[in-house]
């Protein structure tokens, strides 16, 4: 089976260079070679995942002399399979989409090399392989995003993404240096075992090693997963080829969730890092969603949607639901990849007709027309509060009866409840003609989502972290003081309910008339439409550095 694992890395490498050679003579030959390679790689990745599912033990393939190189554990096998699947779709799409583009052999070579490096990252058994792969992803993505070499803005934003990625490379290199200095080995399994034996080990400055390494890995994850303040590159890299955008949003930007999971044995020994993850993720999720809603460009909107989803993924890690974050990144990869690949077609269609059937829902959302009768508000209030609670409680109780003893799980339940309640609350405003039908459909779809999400994430939990002690340790590391936890939970619930009451009040009065509130709203809208001025601030900072360099060179006469 070691040979099969190595085959997964060799196939894209061979396909990259074979495609380049074939492509010199017949450009489209490169596409065919590359596509065939991705089909074989997907088959190999499926075999590897199947082997892990049926209970094959961890496999390690390395060089004689102690360099472990690659290891097939549940996380690696699952991620490799996801990457192989997304790569297959992206390759199939690229064969036709890129057919008329110049530099086809170069494109497929870079694509194959990128996929190989992604495999190397998820299967890395040692810190050096991991750091090398982590670093190379940014380099290869830079060239792929700049595939349209005539476009200055494509090249500019490709450079921006590489520099953000490189910023994320610095902490992981520092973390690797600290771990190697502490334990004298690069092997991840040995490092985690040594840390487990001595979790209170300190490092430079007397800080706890686990805490410092956890913080550094988190910062790397933030840069890779476009967390707030490090997100600017993501929505601006849309001038790259659409299949590259799909691969990036489905298989690269979510590497932050992967790396946090890879270092889970470090995070269980941290005390504050997971709380920071939660906060950063929360802010990113909110900022990304707000920015997404304010865009009028479909691809940019998808870019900000990815940012919001990545925030949610990091937040899940922050509450200790590590395997849920993996499920989330896979689910997001599939739906976001599909949306990107379909975006061009949708734009094309929308130019002729928006294609939305003019039913009551269309009338409400697009034309802002309301019709029919409103449901009784008391009934809706009871249903809004009770139904999501019942569905969520039942679904979670089915998979784990101790669920309410985990703070992280309660936080996620709370989010689920808010989402479900918001959904039902919206129906109150819709004034539908057939209320029971609409409510039944909403509740049914909510049940499907919750049950699906709960069951699948539970299966992921058992597969990725089979040791119950590890699962509990992850949730325990995310815990905060119980009194504070309850205060925060009640405060957030009160804020949400007040928000609903405010929305209800505004709806009854036909909107707020206060000029003060209108002006505040317009200011907020201006802030959002300028993307919180973050790209401008980065622009000013880099401009200042370049101006300084120019002045220094002029004064020192280029010596």
């Amino acid at each position: 089976m070691q040979e099969v694992m190595l085959l997964l890395l060799v196939i894209p490498l061979l396909s990259a260079f074979a495609g380049l050679v074939v492509g010199q003579k017949a450009g489209r030959g490169a596409a065919r070679v590359s596509f065939i390679g991705s089909v074989i790689a997907f088959a190999v990745a499926s075999v590897l995942l199947l082997a892990r599912v049926v209970g094959e033990a961890d496999l390690t393939a390395g060089l004689p002399g102690g360099w472990p190189l690659f290891r097939l554990d549940p996380l690696g096998a699952l991620m490799a399979w996801v990457i192989a699947g997304i790569s297959l779709i992206v390759h199939a799409y690229s064969v036709r989409y890129m057919a008329e583009e110049s530099g086809l052999p170069r494109y497929f070579m870079l694509l194959d090399l990128l996929v190989m490096v992604l495999y190397a990252m998820v299967l890395a058994a040692d810190l050096l392989t991991l750091v090398v792969a982590w670093n190379l992803i940014g380099i290869l993505l830079f060239f792929l995003l700049g595939q349209n070499v005539n476009s200055r803005s494509a090249s500019r934003y490709a450079g921006w993404s590489l520099l953000t990625f490189r910023l994320g490379d610095l902490p992981i290199i520092l973390a690797a240096a600290l771990l190697v200095e502490a334990f004298g080995t690069f092997d991840l399994a040995e490092i985690f075992a040594a840390l487990q034996a001595d979790p209170h080990r300190t490092t430079l400055g007397g800080y706890r090693l686990a805490e410092v390494v956890g913080a550094l890995i988190s910062i790397s994850a933030f840069a890779r997963s476009a967390q707030f303040l490090l997100h600017g590159w993501l929505p601006y890299t849309m001038e790259g080829p659409t299949p590259v955008s799909a691969l990036m949003h489905a298989g690269i930007v979510n590497a932050g969730g992967f790396i946090i999971n890879r270092f889970a044995p470090v995070f269980i020994h941290t005390s504050d890092v997971l709380h920071w993850l939660f906060l950063v993720g929360l802010v990113t999720a909110i900022a990304g969603s707000v920015l997404m809603l304010s865009q009028n460009d479909i691809k940019k909107s998808l870019g900000y949607s990815t940012m919001g989803q990545m925030g949610f993924m990091v937040m899940e890690c922050g509450v200790g639901a590590f395997s849920l974050a993996i499920y989330h990144l896979i689910a997001h990869g599939i739906f976001k990849g599909t949306l990107f690949l379909g975006a061009g077609g949708i734009i094309n269609e929308a130019r002729r007709s928006d294609g939305v059937p003019k039913d009551p829902l269309y009338g409400f959302i697009v034309e802002r027309k309301v019709g029919g009768r409103r449901p009784p508000w008391l009934l809706m209030a009871v249903m809004t509060l009770a139904i999501p609670s019942a569905i969520l409680g039942l679904a979670h109780w089915m998979v784990d009866q101790q669920i309410l003893q985990k703070q992280g799980a309660i936080v996620l339940l709370f989010f689920g409840w808010v989402t479900g309640a918001q959904l039902l609350f919206s129906t109150y405003k819709m004034k539908t003609a057939n209320l029971p039908r609409l409510l039944a459909l909403i509740i049914f779809s909510f049940v499907i989502v919750v049950v699906g999400y709960t069951l699948v994430s539970h299966v992921f939990d058992l597969f990725l972290y089979p040791d119950p002690a590890m699962r509990s340790a992850l949730y325990a590391a995310a815990n905060i003081d119980l009194v504070w936890f309850e205060i925060v939970l009640v405060a957030v619930a009160v804020i949400v309910v007040l928000g609903w009451l405010l929305a209800y009040y505004a709806d009854q009065k036909g909107g707020f008339r206060s000029s003060h509130l209108t002006s505040l709203w317009l200011r907020f809208y201006a802030l959002v439409s300028r993307e919180f001025y973050i790209p401008d601030i980065y622009g000013l900072l880099s401009h200042a550095v370049l101006k300084f360099a120019e002045r220094a060179n002029r004064h020192l006469r280029w010596l």
Binding site: G66, W67, L128, V131, R166, A177, F186
Partner: protein, 254 residues
């Protein structure tokens, strides 16, 4: 403190402002191959002198060395001439030699490592010579968008720049990791900042020279010959393999 040892070293392993001397000499030379030869001799003399004199490097000199590396890396961001860019990157790289654990390095090993670290910049100088022979200059902006018509030249320039900005699997990447693992936290952060700036400088260099719209449109100038291309690719393959061997040694030692 052994000033008599430190002063000549400040010129050979350039510390600002003594670093200006190297740049002054480099400017006096016209031929890019002569510039490459100067870099080779200067670096080898510097590392040889460091090992021979083996001075006790005071803490402030290490900080000064990192400061010099940062300063030249920042200045390289806006350079428009390929040989000048290589010279600034060279000074930035060479000044970090002050941080090397001198006692742990053998003489031959140190000379070899230095050669492999600066080799991409030497090759970039030679490629600049080929550009000057073809276009009359290696000035970014006047020459640009090379990838459209000169894929071989572009590939080699891209490889040189990637190796110079310490990208794996080239040796400089692994040297930096080794260096960081023996430095204090403050100096490590300084070295990482230099590494980041090299990346920024490299990206800007590639954006203006290799990528972007075709500036040389209409020219009938030929690309590099197959022979030269393969010879230089072979050097980069060797560099990459040596980098991996270096990585293997690191893992073995732990």
């Amino acid at each position: 403190m052994d000033w008599l040892k430190l002063l000549p070293l400040a010129v050979l392993l350039p510390l600002f402002p003594a670093s200006m001397l190297f740049n002054w000499v480099e400017r006096r030379l016209d031929a890019p191959w002569a510039k490459a030869a100067l870099m080779l001799v200067w670096a080898q003399a510097g590392i040889g002198a460091l090992l021979w004199l083996a001075p006790e490097v005071p803490g402030f000199v290490s900080i000064w060395a990192v400061g010099t590396a940062l300063f030249y890396a920042v200045r390289a961001l806006v350079l428009n001439e390929a040989t000048a860019w290589a010279a600034f990157m060279f000074v930035s790289l060479l000044s970090l030699s002050w941080l090397l654990p001198v006692g742990q390095l053998g003489l031959g090993q140190a000379h070899l490592y230095m050669l492999l670290a600066i080799l991409p910049l030497l090759l970039l100088n030679l490629l600049s010579g080929m550009m000057i022979a073809r276009f009359g200059s290696a000035y970014l902006g006047l020459v640009g968008g090379l990838v459209h018509r000169y894929p071989r030249l572009s590939t080699l320039i891209a490889l040189s720049v990637l190796a110079a900005m310490a990208t794996p699997p080239f040796p400089l990447f692994f040297y930096l990791i080794e260096l960081i693992s023996v430095l204090s936290l403050g100096l490590s952060i300084g070295v990482l900042a230099v590494w980041y700036l090299w990346g920024w400088a490299g990206v800007r260099f590639l954006q203006r020279l290799v990528l972007g719209p075709d500036v040389c449109r209409g020219s009938k100038i030929s690309d590099l010959s197959r022979g030269v291309t393969w010879a230089m690719v072979a050097i980069y393959v060797f560099l990459g393999l040596f980098g991996l061997w270096e990585a293997f040694e690191m893992v073995e030692v732990g």
